[in-house]
């Protein structure tokens, strides 16, 4: 496993030892905590030898066990405690190794964190980040792999951020920590191994943005997030060979995506596909389409489509998983059908892509 170890703090400082997305999260923690002494980092397993897939490696050594600590398996109390810290001058970051575990803290997230600023008439904000990792694949099964981003995105008062590329992971995490509101920061586990060398680390984070356009094209607009944006970006690159222009908008800010640029893009392409790794029912893709339709009804050449996960839980068996999740291949095929064309030899092209694309997550948990 490509993880930072506890001796690697110096190297982290010097920008060495950053090889991937997971290291980038550790670097973002490191930089946030170095420049802001009110930032705290805790969560179940935060200081164990694996440091949450390496994403919190070295932090305890550098910042001490008052600022960085392991917790009891008490998600609701830990979230409440984080809120209490946040209303008392601190900026806590609480990490869940699986999004699924955060479900034991829904009261604190929805009834307290999301409401505090509102229900007390704007007197006290809650600068809190809750990191949740979506652990799809390797037989994680029905209760260790859920992508419930649209749950959180429906709650006023929460911000929901899902980064795609490693540098976005770093920057958006920095911005989320600096934000005065509760931010649900969701990392797809498959992103953790994506390469990044730490170039472009900053002293001061920027304000949280809305969306990024990551590919340009005039035939179809894809709006996606997280790993879906990575795959869509790959698909856009592959389809360039077929002279198909895919415009990909990475709508990483799930409650506050940039509807204007999405609408502008759809006005240009006349086609819209959403890509989101969650159940399709009531998904973010559904919301995006609902917002685009009245704005671009006359521009649309075909009906908008969604790529998402089936509306039933994922079974653990490897054989089920491989059909449950989608990939770049499925995005290319979907575009093929939406454009009503055939891409010659696309299967060979995709096979080559598949063998060149990195292993993403090889267990055991």
């Amino acid at each position: 496993m490509n993880m930072l170890n506890k001796n690697s703090v110096k190297e982290l400082k010097q920008n060495k030892r950053i090889n991937n997305f997971a290291d980038g999260i550790a670097a973002a923690f490191f930089d946030s905590m170095r420049y802001d002494p009110t930032v705290l980092a805790f969560g179940l397993g935060a200081t164990d030898p694996k440091n949450i897939f390496g994403t919190m490696a070295g932090l305890e050594d550098e910042f001490g066990n008052e600022r960085v600590f392991d917790t009891p398996i008490s998600e609701n109390a830990m979230t409440g405690m984080a809120i209490g810290l946040a209303i008392s001058g601190y900026k806590p970051v609480l990490t869940h190794q699986r999004l699924d575990f955060s479900l034991l803290s829904i009261d604190q997230i929805v009834n307290a964190a999301a409401k505090w600023y509102f229900m007390f008439g704007g007197q006290q904000s809650v600068p809190l980040v809750i990191r949740m990792i979506i652990g799809q694949g390797w037989g994680q099964g029905p209760t260790h792999s859920q992508a419930l981003q649209s749950w959180f995105a429906q709650i006023p008062g929460l911000k929901v951020i899902m980064p795609a590329f490693p540098k976005d992971g770093y920057n958006l995490f920095r911005s989320s920590i600096a934000d005065p509101n509760p931010v649900i920061f969701i990392e797809h586990r498959w992103l953790h191994q994506m390469s990044w060398n730490g170039e472009g680390r900053v002293v001061s984070p920027t304000q949280l943005g809305k969306s990024n356009q990551i590919s340009t094209g005039s035939d179809i607009t894809i709006v996606s997030n997280s790993i879906g944006s990575v795959y869509s970006h790959h698909a856009a690159n592959i389809l360039k060979k077929y002279n198909v222009g895919v415009e990909v908008i990475d709508a990483f800010n799930l409650r506050d995506f940039d509807i204007n640029s999405i609408s502008k893009s759809v006005a240009k392409t006349g086609r819209l596909l959403t890509v989101d790794f969650s159940h399709q029912f009531c998904s973010i893709g559904t919301e995006i389409i609902a917002q685009v339709l009245p704005l671009n009804f006359a521009d649309l050449k075909i009906a908008p489509e969604r790529i998402a996960l089936p509306n039933f839980p994922v079974g653990t068996s490897f054989n089920i998983e491989k059909d449950f999740y989608f990939s770049t291949i499925d995005i290319c095929k979907k575009i093929e059908s939406m454009l009503n064309v055939t891409f010659p030899n696309i299967d060979d092209e995709l096979k080559e892509y598949q063998s060149s694309s990195k292993k993403r997550f090889d267990g055991p948990f």
Binding site: L40, E66, R67, T71, P72, S74, N76, A77, M78, T79, G80, M81, A82, I83, G84, L85, A86, I87, S88, G89, Y90, P92, D107, Q108, N111, A112, K115, W116, Y117, F118, M119, F120, G121, G122, Q123, Q124, S125, V126, P127, P156, G157, K159, P180, N181
Partner: protein, 326 residues
């Protein structure tokens, strides 16, 4: 903040404060029928003792959090009366800008950090407030008030555990009025379950007494606050008490029969104001003129608060949109 032994002055202060709170709560109950305070209201009448006893041991920099039934806590801690009443009237000038109502009170100027309406909700939040005091090496402490019903929530036990693990300067302040809405203790808690034993099992010093008994309430509050301040460790207090009115609303609901007459009569004969009066008399001071004076002063305060509240503007919906994000 009083750390020295309890004196006659403490008794008088306690008495004055419970009389003030009851007078206010009764005025709210009386005026509630005008239907201008359009929000659920959990009055503290009968339960003033615990709130005042603990607050007398706190200063404005100590923090307090509470629940749906928080008027007495808010007032005892020093919360602004006009802003509380304005909140009930849903006005822009309310302590929560009209967004919270009776169940969401806050007055940060006196360390009342917030009360929320989900049972058990503020218990872990108070642990975070206490942890912030620990991390910033503050000398202050945090008190979280809640009913015995909230001890049935899992988060109560979770928070006892973390408070003990982290040695938080936190007082778990349980007001046991034997009821959750209409439900008595029997279907909710085994008779072999003792709240103080749950906290003791987590290594937390735990004290229990009768909150309507002035000596007991004051002595326990003093002991607990002294301990938490000096030892920087958590403590749990359970004070028994009784609410006189319905769970939610301004009326008496004794006729619907979920509480026995015997029980009601017992508690009314053990009223905190009557008890305090007796205790003061025994110390050779007549409480009657003091009571009268407090009632008169409070009435004036109340009239002013209600006048200001009803003159204040209502918030517009645009304002509520602006409170979505900081």
């Amino acid at each position: 903040m009083k750390q020295e032994p309890i004196t006659i002055e403490d008794f008088k202060e306690f008495f004055s404060k419970i009389v003030r709170i009851r007078t206010i709560e009764q005025a709210i109950a009386e005026r509630y029928h005008a239907q201008e305070m359009k929000c659920p209201m959990h009055l503290s009448i009968g339960q003033e003792g615990p709130a005042v006893a603990i607050s007398m041991q706190l200063n404005a920099s100590d923090k307090m959090l509470s629940t749906h039934r928080s008027h007495a806590h808010y007032l005892a801690k020093g919360g602004n009366l006009t802003m509380m009443i304005s909140e009930f009237f849903g006005r822009e000038t309310g302590c929560s800008g009209g967004m919270g109502g009776s169940m969401h009170l806050i007055d940060k100027s006196c360390g009342f950090e917030g009360a929320t309406a989900i049972v058990g909700n503020t218990i872990p939040i108070a642990a975070g407030v206490a942890l912030s005091q620990k991390l910033s090496k503050s000398k202050n402490i945090t008190v979280v008030c809640f009913g015995e019903g909230a001890t049935e929530e899992g988060v109560f036990s979770e928070t006892l555990n973390i408070a003990s693990v982290k040695n938080l300067p936190l007082i778990f302040f349980v007001e046991n009025n034997s009821y959750s809405v209409y439900s008595p203790l029997a279907p909710r808690q085994s008779i072999n379950r003792h709240i103080t034993k749950i906290s003791e099992a987590h290594g937390i010093k735990s004290l229990k007494g009768n909150g309507n008994n002035i000596e007991e309430a004051l002595a326990i509050s003093l002991e607990a606050t002294t301990y938490v301040r000096e030892k920087r460790k958590p403590c749990l207090i359970e004070l028994e008490t009784y609410r006189y009115l319905e769970h939610c609303g301004p009326n008496n609901d004794d006729h619907i029969g979920y509480r026995t007459k015997k029980e009601i009569d017992f508690w009314k004969s053990y009223d905190v104001i009557a008890n305090a009066k007796k205790a003061i008399k025994e110390l050779g001071v007549s409480p009657d003129s003091l009571e009268k004076l407090i009632q008169e002063n409070t009435k004036e305060e109340i009239d002013n608060a209600f006048r200001e509240a009803t003159l204040a503007p209502f918030p517009k919906i645009e304002r509520s949109i602006s409170y979505e994000y900081a």
